[in-house]
């Protein structure tokens, strides 16, 4: 048998859009496998939010709860869940950057695999990773006394908001990973994503901030996401934060998708 006569006739021409979807699925499978085997990264992504939650509930909680009213753990958990999602999603920047600096990007480009499929693979695995770490963080939250009054719609809404936020942050992180030159620099996005929730209503009510900071906190995208999450989980009125959260996430997603695609094409590794 001639050696290169490998199962002939199996490569079929695909339409552009079909190829993108199929490649995105293949790349997602790859990234999920890689993620699930990088145990240290999984542990860090869970440890950080859990530690922060414990710090806020047990160290600062006593001092803060006078301003939030009710049980502080119920106030802070939505913020911690969001911080966990942001922190986990930000890791996408490093993963994308490592691919762009490695040999794989040349192979992919020479095989005509497009940027959207490559980034989608990273984003899907990022969301999957985040769902797992969010569940663990949520489990710890229940252990330390978090209780929800949410009905089924509230739960579904909360899950939806979180997924949407993870998606938006992960895709935005990809843009950052495509933009910077090294994995170390890409790691800087985690810092940003960890800091941003502090200037919001995640840990303390916005009303307690100095007035100049209040303006920032009230109008940055993380605040409506947290407010929606808190309202949904604690069965409180949603107000207009629901729509604002959806609009922010959708906007970030659209801009990031376009930017990532352009950057992927421009970038010569």
């Amino acid at each position: 048998m001639s050696e290169l006569a490998l199962s002939a006739g199996t490569v079929r021409p695909r339409s552009r859009s079909l190829a993108t979807v199929q490649d995105a699925i293949t790349m997602s499978g790859r990234c999920i496998r890689l993620s699930s085997r990088a145990l240290d990264a999984i542990i860090t992504s869970v440890m950080m939010p859990v530690m922060l939650m414990l710090v806020f509930v047990y160290l600062f909680g006593g001092a803060i709860k006078n301003t939030t009213g009710g049980d502080y753990v119920n106030y802070v958990v939505p913020g911690v869940l969001l911080l966990c999602a942001g922190w986990g999603g930000a890791a996408t920047a490093v993963n994308v950057n490592m691919d762009m600096n490695g040999g794989i990007v040349d192979r992919l480009r020479s095989m005509d695999v497009g940027g959207t499929a490559v980034i989608a693979g990273h984003v899907v695995s990022s969301v999957a990773r985040n769902v797992v770490s969010t569940l663990i963080v949520f489990g710890v939250a229940l252990l330390i006394g978090f209780r929800s009054d949410a009905n089924l719609m509230g739960w579904l809404g909360a899950v939806g908001v979180l997924l949407m936020f993870m998606l938006a942050v992960s895709w935005l992180a990809s843009v950052f990973g495509l933009l910077v030159q090294s994995a170390e620099a890409a790691g800087g996005f985690s810092f940003i994503m960890m800091f941003v929730p502090y200037v919001s209503s995640a840990f303390v009510p916005v009303s307690t901030l100095p007035s100049w900071l209040r303006g920032v906190a009230e109008h940055q995208p993380v605040t409506p996401v947290i407010e929606s999450l808190r309202a949904l989980l604690n069965n409180e009125p949603l107000g207009n934060s629901g729509w604002l959260a959806v609009a922010w996430c959708a906007g970030i997603l659209v801009v990031s998708t376009v930017l990532a695609n352009v950057l992927f094409r421009k970038r010569v590794a």
């Binding site: 001639s2 050696e3 290169l4 006569a5 490998l6 199962s7 002939a8 199996t10 490569v11 079929r12 021409p13 695909r14 190829a19 199929q22 490649d23 293949t26 790349m27 499978g29 790859r30 496998r33 890689l34 085997r37 990088a38 490695g102 040999g103 794989i104 040349d106 192979r107 992919l108 480009r109 020479s110 095989m111 005509d112 695999v113 010569v268």
Partner: protein, 329 residues
């Protein structure tokens, strides 16, 4: 431009700032042959491969691969080529089989066929037993073979290999050569770059020598070697006076000189007859030359012979210079 060329390039130019990486190169590679682009680091080999494999746009000139224009028919070119670059394109945290199946899927092979093809390639590249192990546990040579295998899942007709053996030990290099030779006879065209004359000699039907962004010589390896002489005879003199005498006696024949080591290199075919007659000629009383050794010609010798000057930049770090040595007196 047309005809039966798998790869043809005319006047390819590329600069970064003021540095001309490619200063107008012409290449013609017949279909179903092995072509080697030979040159030191920084000669422009990788840039050429990247332009031909559509990853980089040339500043000037044009190129066709499989008859398709690399600039205007990018997708068509990508459908028929594969590129195995210098840095690994396989994932350390996936097994060999997973890497191959993933690449096969990306090449448009159906799920079921991807599995079969992965198995075929693993067996063929002597990786069947390692197929279920993560690539992180592979040796350098195994990793390169897997990388090459991953490039073949889509059944490309033009295969680009950018320095496939750089950094490998001699044994892995030889097994890589066997693998590459094994690809022939299927009608595929192989375009490989290398820093090693010996590698081009072993594998290629035709060679182009690239230096400073220009093709300085091309032809079959045998032709090139005739122009370069396959071997170099290093004569070690007993003292400075002898060394000077040697310089005086060998005008126009010296390819390397090293006063610190009292050594003069002369091209030779390596035959005993030639070595003996040379020694008889310059040192009939056997008092000047204290020892000698015969080396395979290095890229340095080729460059010296072709361009009249040493090759540019530090290309010697990983050249296999004293690969074959025969001890002297």
């Amino acid at each position: 431009m047309s005809g039966n060329w798998a790869v043809e390039a005319a006047g390819l130019r590329k600069s970064y700032g003021k540095i001309d990486v490619l200063a107008g190169i012409d290449l013609k590679v017949p279909a179903a042959s092995v072509f080697s682009l030979l040159g030191p680091n920084g000669a422009g080999k990788t840039t050429t491969v990247r332009i031909l494999s559509t990853l980089l746009r040339a500043d000037g000139g044009q190129a066709r691969v499989g008859g398709f224009d690399v600039d205007r028919q990018q997708r068509d070119v990508r459908r028929i080529i594969s590129l195995t670059g210098q840095s690994a394109s396989v994932d350390q945290l996936q097994t060999g089989e997973e890497n191959l199946r993933m690449t096969a899927s990306l090449a448009g092979v159906s799920r079921r066929d991807a599995k079969r093809r992965a198995q075929e390639l693993l067996e063929r590249f002597d990786l069947a037993e390692a197929g279920n192990r993560r690539v992180a546990t592979y040796s350098g040579g195994m990793r390169r073979r897997l990388d090459l295998a991953a490039g073949l899942v889509g059944r490309p007709s033009v295969i680009f290999l950018d320095e496939p053996t750089t950094g490998l030990d001699p044994r892995s290099r030889r097994s890589m050569w066997d693998v590459i030779t094994g690809l022939l006879g299927e009608g595929v065209t192989i375009f490989l770059t290398t820093q090693y004359l010996e590698e081009a000699d072993q594998l290629a039907d035709s060679v182009a020598v690239l230096d400073g962004g220009r093709v300085v010589a091309e032809g079959a390896p045998a032709e090139l070697k005739r122009r370069v002489a396959g071997q170099r005879l290093d004569l070690v003199f007993g003292d400075d006076a002898g060394y000077d005498e040697g310089l005086r006696l060998l005008p126009g024949r010296i390819s390397t000189e090293d006063r610190a080591r009292l050594t003069i290199g002369v091209p030779t075919d390596g035959s005993a007859a030639q070595v003996r007659s040379l020694l008889d000629e310059i040192d009939p009383q056997a008092r000047l030359v204290s020892s000698f050794s015969v080396h395979t010609a290095t890229l340095d010798d080729v460059f010296l012979a072709l361009t009249g000057r040493p090759a540019q930049s530090g290309q010697n770090e990983n050249s296999n210079e004293t690969d074959k040595e025969t001890a002297g007196v």
